[in-house]
């Protein structure tokens, strides 16, 4: 969908085209949501965090510099920080509350429905799902993904390879 307000602005002096926030949000919303879905493994949580991510991005939009990376990578960085903040808050809350009560209240909506792939994905660690989302679904290149994850390119590549292998093994086990 095209937004009428999505008028590209120009970076001063350098003449680089700077997209409007609305246009970026429209084009990258699915990618960010998909990334958060893989990172959290929880559909409703991913939806909440997606909204939070774009609100943060809205406030920080003037700091976005297209010369330093794509809008997708920038948004994924924000989404990652939002998710980590959420995990930290959840961890603190879990420490405070009674563990049994928390387990009773916890109703996790399946992220990918039924099937061997969905169940295999649920068994992967969030870090593994994250690298799969960034490299396979969002198609970020190795250096960008590694920078976003705060690890080396080799570690990123190894983590991706291991995650995909594990997925394949789990799926083949399920089929057998």
């Amino acid at each position: 969908m095209k937004d009428v307000n999505a008028v590209p602005t120009t970076l001063p002096r350098l003449g680089l085209a700077r997209p409007s926030f609305a246009a970026v949000a429209e084009s990258e919303l699915d990618a960010v949501h998909r990334y958060l879905l893989f990172l959290t493994g929880n559909r409703s949580l991913a939806e909440d965090l997606t909204g939070d991510t774009f609100e943060k991005a809205f406030r920080a939009w003037r700091r976005f510099d297209p010369r330093r990376g794509t809008a997708r990578a920038w948004l994924c960085g924000i989404a990652r920080r939002v998710a980590l903040d959420h995990f930290r808050a959840e961890e603190r809350r879990a420490r405070r509350e009674d563990r049994y009560a928390r387990e009773l209240d916890r109703v996790v909506e399946p992220a990918w429905g039924e099937g061997s792939l969905a169940s295999a994905l649920q068994q992967l660690a969030p870090a593994e799902r994250e690298v799969v989302a960034l490299r396979v679904l969002l198609e970020l290149d190795g250096p960008t993904a590694a920078r976003l994850l705060g690890i080396s390119r080799t570690a990123c590549s190894t983590r991706l390879s291991r995650a995909l292998k594990r997925l394949e093994e789990m799926m083949s086990d399920a089929r057998v």
């Binding site: 609305a22 879905l37 997606t50 909204g51 406030r59 990918w112 679904l137 799926m171």
Partner: protein
């Protein structure tokens, strides 16, 4: 994205990748609406981003240029100021109580005896009458001066000492004391205390300074006018008292005791008058004769100052270099003070970053 990387895992896990990309993950309409409602942020003025590279390329040269410009300005201003100082005379204000003069800079070149001119003196020239604080005519003043002059060698020392004595006598004064030492291998010294009529003291200073290179000169003038007046008033009062006592003694009908008491009082007053008169004479003598402590030496200057440039440009360059040296010293000191703090800040930043990364890995590995 490098094609080889993508191709690798897409080829190796072709079916899995296809299945992953086919997973339902569309964003719900509610989230999409929430994001659309955000709209467009208000455009703000974008300032140029200050990166390290930009800071190094722009700020460092700018700071260097500013420091050099400041040094140049400082050099020009200080050289102008030093020239003004050099051309100003150190003539003291006469008739205003104690007067002190500035000591001359070392190694001031003296002019020959007959070569004294009335030009405005500079430090490169010998003492001239205008450069020496002169006593006020018509006032009683205690004039004391110290003058130290360097001569070439021991032979010259003897000649110049004799000349100094001759000058003193020519000007109507006398040598109060003289001591001369000339041991082989040691610098020769001659110390004279000269008493010269105050009216001729300026001439004496000029002529004495012409005997060699003036190393130092100090002049002290203390006004004695008030002291003399007080002494004279005291003398008049005592004379008056004596006249009254004498008149009282001549009155008839005085008792023996009273006469004796008046006689004692008269004797005391006469003694006081004699003392006051003596003090007055001493003060007048003091005011009539100046005291000049004149030293002649063969000692070489220890370290002649190299930075005494004669030209305006030379002084400006020297002052600017001095300023730059000071600025450099300040910068090094600041660096020494700040560098531990910088190292600490970097270590803290690295520690926090490592902690956050480890925490993120833990959260994503276990959540």
């Amino acid at each position: 994205m490098p094609a080889s990387e993508t191709v690798d895992f897409e080829r190796e896990f072709e079916e899995l990748v296809r299945e992953l990309r086919a997973l339902p993950s569309d964003t719900p309409a509610s989230v999409r609406e929430r994001v659309r409602e955000l709209g467009e942020p208000q455009a703000r003025r974008v300032f140029p981003r200050l990166t390290w590279r930009r800071a190094v390329l722009v700020l460092v040269p700018a700071c260097l240029i500013a420091v050099v410009a400041a040094a140049a300005v400082h050099g020009l201003l200080s050289s102008s100021a030093s020239k003004q100082t050099a051309t100003s005379t150190n003539q003291a204000e006469s008739g205003a109580g104690a007067v002190k003069s500035q000591p001359n800079p070392p190694a001031t070149r003296a002019t020959p005896l007959q070569g004294v001119t009335r030009k405005t003196p500079t430090f490169d020239q010998a003492l001239t009458p205008s450069a020496i604080p002169s006593p006020s005519p018509g006032r009683y003043q205690n004039y004391q001066a110290d003058l130290r002059v360097r001569v070439k060698d021991l032979d010259t020392l003897g000649d110049k000492t004799a000349q100094a004595m001759q000058i003193t006598q020519q000007l109507g004064g006398f040598v109060a004391s003289l001591s001369q030492s000339s041991t082989a291998g040691q610098p020769g010294e001659a110390d004279l205390v000269l008493r010269i009529p105050v009216a001729r003291v300026t001439d004496a200073m000029v002529q004495l300074s012409g005997l060699g290179t003036v190393l130092s000169q100090n002049v002290s003038i203390v006004d004695l006018q008030r002291v003399v007046q007080q002494q004279r008033q005291q003398i008049r009062a005592l004379q008056l008292q004596i006249a009254r006592i004498t008149a009282a003694l001549q009155q008839p009908g005085l008792s023996a005791d009273e006469r004796l008491r008046l006689q004692f009082l008269l004797d005391d007053t006469r003694r006081n008058l004699a003392n006051a008169t003596g003090r007055n004479k001493a003060t007048l003598r003091e005011a009539a004769l100046s005291r000049i402590a004149f030293s002649l030496t063969t000692q070489k200057p220890i370290a002649p100052a190299k930075k005494h440039h004669s030209s305006f440009f030379g002084r400006a360059v020297s002052s600017a270099l001095h300023f730059l040296g000071g600025a450099g010293a300040v910068a090094v000191a600041a660096l020494i003070i700040v560098s531990p703090l910088l190292v600490l800040a970097v270590l803290i930043w690295l520690g926090v970053r490592a902690f956050r990364r480890r925490e993120a890995q833990r959260l994503l590995g276990t959540t």
